[in-house]
């Protein structure tokens, strides 16, 4: 029996404009010290969908996101975001790095960190003003963190820290969200908050690409999936992608037969 499925979102208003894909990647290749991390990746992200990037450890999922954002150099390939270059599209993108990539002992409050999401809009040489702080608190409220606005970020739980990052991404009011494992090591309340926020931004017309590890929840949380193992294995709706055959190809022996049966919708 298949688990209950989330009905893929359909925009209530038909869109007349033929807008380019939020993210279009051609021939993207990244290597670390001569070892390929992402190999010749072609991908077009569907508009206004929640997309999971799945694959085994070391499959290049985080690297792909970083290469799209120009955070790591790519050897080959090009990336278009909403049909334009990264530089032109920067204000339309929000990035959530892995929570463990920053130093949470930093002297900043939750509100300070969320306000960082506004730095692009505030611009050079201008200070963070009272109205920016108010805006930051509004976004903290959306993730249920309004009571922790003034708390130093190191004294938040892992899940709360993740929600601060989520609020910061929301403050960027982006059209494309790139999230690197937001569900890693978070509590149930945070997991629900992340899912709700992803659905909210999808309703508002945004697209989310999210590196995701828990294959059990892919079908419940996401509309589409990109299956990666250095090369692209496949992409499509979660129903198309979550098959025993594809999971076997992506994960090889790393998933037990019984697990594949539990996750896959068709065998």
């Amino acid at each position: 029996m298949n688990p209950p499925r989330l009905i893929p979102f359909e925009p209530s208003q038909p869109r007349n404009d033929i807008s380019p894909s939020p993210l279009s990647v051609r021939g993207l290749t990244v290597a670390y010290d001569d070892k390929p991390a992402v190999w010749n990746l072609d991908y077009d992200a569907p508009d206004r969908r929640l997309i999971a990037i799945i694959g085994p450890n070391g499959a290049g999922k985080s690297t792909m996101i970083k290469a799209i954002l120009g955070l790591v150099p790519s050897l080959a390939g090009h990336v278009r975001i909403f049909g334009t270059t990264l530089r032109q599209a920067r204000r339309r993108i929000a990035y959530i790095p892995q929570r463990t990539s920053v130093d949470w002992d930093f002297p900043a409050s939750a509100e300070d960190v969320v306000a960082m999401g506004l730095y692009g809009k505030i611009g050079w040489f201008r200070p963070v003003r009272r109205r920016h702080r108010a805006l930051a608190r509004e976004h903290l409220e959306r993730v249920g963190m309004e009571d922790f606005a003034g708390r130093q970020i190191g004294r938040l739980s892992g899940g709360q820290q993740q929600r601060v990052f989520l609020a910061r991404a929301l403050a960027q009011k982006a059209d494309l969200y790139l999230m690197d494992e937001p569900f890693a090591g978070v509590d149930a309340a945070t997991e629900r908050a992340i899912v709700n926020v992803m659905r909210e931004v999808r309703t508002a017309g945004s697209t989310v690409l999210c590196v995701h590890h828990d294959l059990r929840t892919v079908g419940d949380y996401f509309d589409h999936a990109l299956v990666l193992n250095i090369r692209k294995i496949t992409d499509g709706t979660v129903d198309e992608v979550l098959t025993g055959d594809i999971l076997q190809r992506a994960y090889g022996g790393r998933l037990a037969e019984t697990e594949i049966h539990a996750i896959a919708h068709t065998t």
Binding site: L69, Y95, P107, G117, Y119
Partner: protein
């Protein structure tokens, strides 16, 4: 004590001490938060042969040739580290250790082998600083302090340090957001389109500027204390970056005034006519302040954490 003696000997030395501690201390906040605290130390070491070479070539101890020499030395050091890392198959920490100590040693040897020792740049001062010889001549009483004549005779070190400190304060104020976000989360900063690498490089260049400007006052070895102690002390006292910057200035000022005061006047209190090394005392006071903060700070001090553990 005579007013004229205080004005011509002690006041300029105190101002130089406070300004070097402030300029290095302000930048130290970012170095410590970026876990690059030892870069200040490394630059102070690596810069020495460059400073000496700059002095030898230019024949004066004007700031600009010394600065150019220090920068050239820093670039050579960066190149050498990379070569040793690859050719010697060493990890970068080991490669840095080799390069920094070797270049510092070359600087000392250069100093001792040349006429440089005749001017007031010699090995001892390069190591321990030269605060006591900062003189403001021709000022005899407080009423003259702001006269045009007196100001024109201000010691060159003091003018240079005032300029460097002002420049650092302006840069940190102007680029506060950018420094903050690129220090905390370089990934986000880069995704916002900020030139993260340029910001890091610029920070190191300004650190080198401060290290060279402070070098004469507190000496090469003690520059590191100025980079780390004020920032580390301030970090114990607040969770707000802007407040931390202000507190580090306060700590640097107390260390500068207190250290010089103890060195110059302390021995007289117990009847000894010798004075102590001012650079040394400043670093001692900075270290003491940090110790007090570590023990007694409201939230992060050892006492409070122990009390919280007992309570929780």
């Amino acid at each position: 004590m005579m007013a004229s003696e205080f004005l011509s000997i002690d006041l300029p030395a105190i101002l130089v001490a406070v300004l070097s501690a402030t300029s290095c201390g302000l930048l130290g906040n970012f170095l410590v938060l970026r876990r690059q605290a030892l870069i200040g130390d490394a630059i102070a070491h690596v810069a020495l042969p460059g400073i000496v070479a700059g002095f030898l070539i230019a024949g004066t101890i004007a700031t600009i040739p010394l600065m150019i020499g220090a920068m050239a030395a820093a670039i050579i050091a960066a190149g050498l580290i990379e070569i040793i890392r690859q050719a010697g198959r060493l990890e970068s920490g080991a490669a840095m250790g080799v390069v920094f100590t070797t270049m510092f040693a070359i600087g000392i040897v250069l100093l001792e082998q040349t006429d440089a020792s005749n001017a007031h740049i010699d090995a001892e001062h390069a190591l321990y600083g030269n605060l006591e010889s900062t003189l403001w001549l021709g000022v005899t009483n407080w009423n003259d302090v702001l006269s045009r004549e007196a100001l024109s005779k201000l010691p060159r070190q003091l003018v240079t340090l005032a300029g460097v400190t002002a420049a650092i304060a302006i840069l940190i104020t102007a680029f506060f957001k950018e420094l903050k976000v690129s220090t905390f989360d370089p990934g986000l900063a880069a995704s916002l389109g900020l030139p993260v690498k340029t910001i890091s490089t610029a920070l190191i260049v300004v650190v080198a500027l401060a290290a060279v400007a402070a070098f004469e006052a507190v000496g090469s070895i003690l520059v590191i204390a100025m980079f780390i102690c004020p920032a580390a002390t301030a970090r114990m006292l607040t969770d707000n970056l802007a407040r931390q910057l202000w507190l580090s200035v306060v700590v640097a000022t107390i260390a500068g005034i207190g250290g010089y005061g103890l060195a110059a006047f302390g021995p007289q209190l117990w009847g000894d006519s010798h004075s102590l090394s001012a650079g040394g005392m400043i670093a001692v006071v900075a270290g003491l302040l940090q110790t007090v903060a570590m023990v007694a700070a409201p939230r992060y001090g050892i006492f409070c954490r122990a009390r919280r553990r007992r309570a929780g």
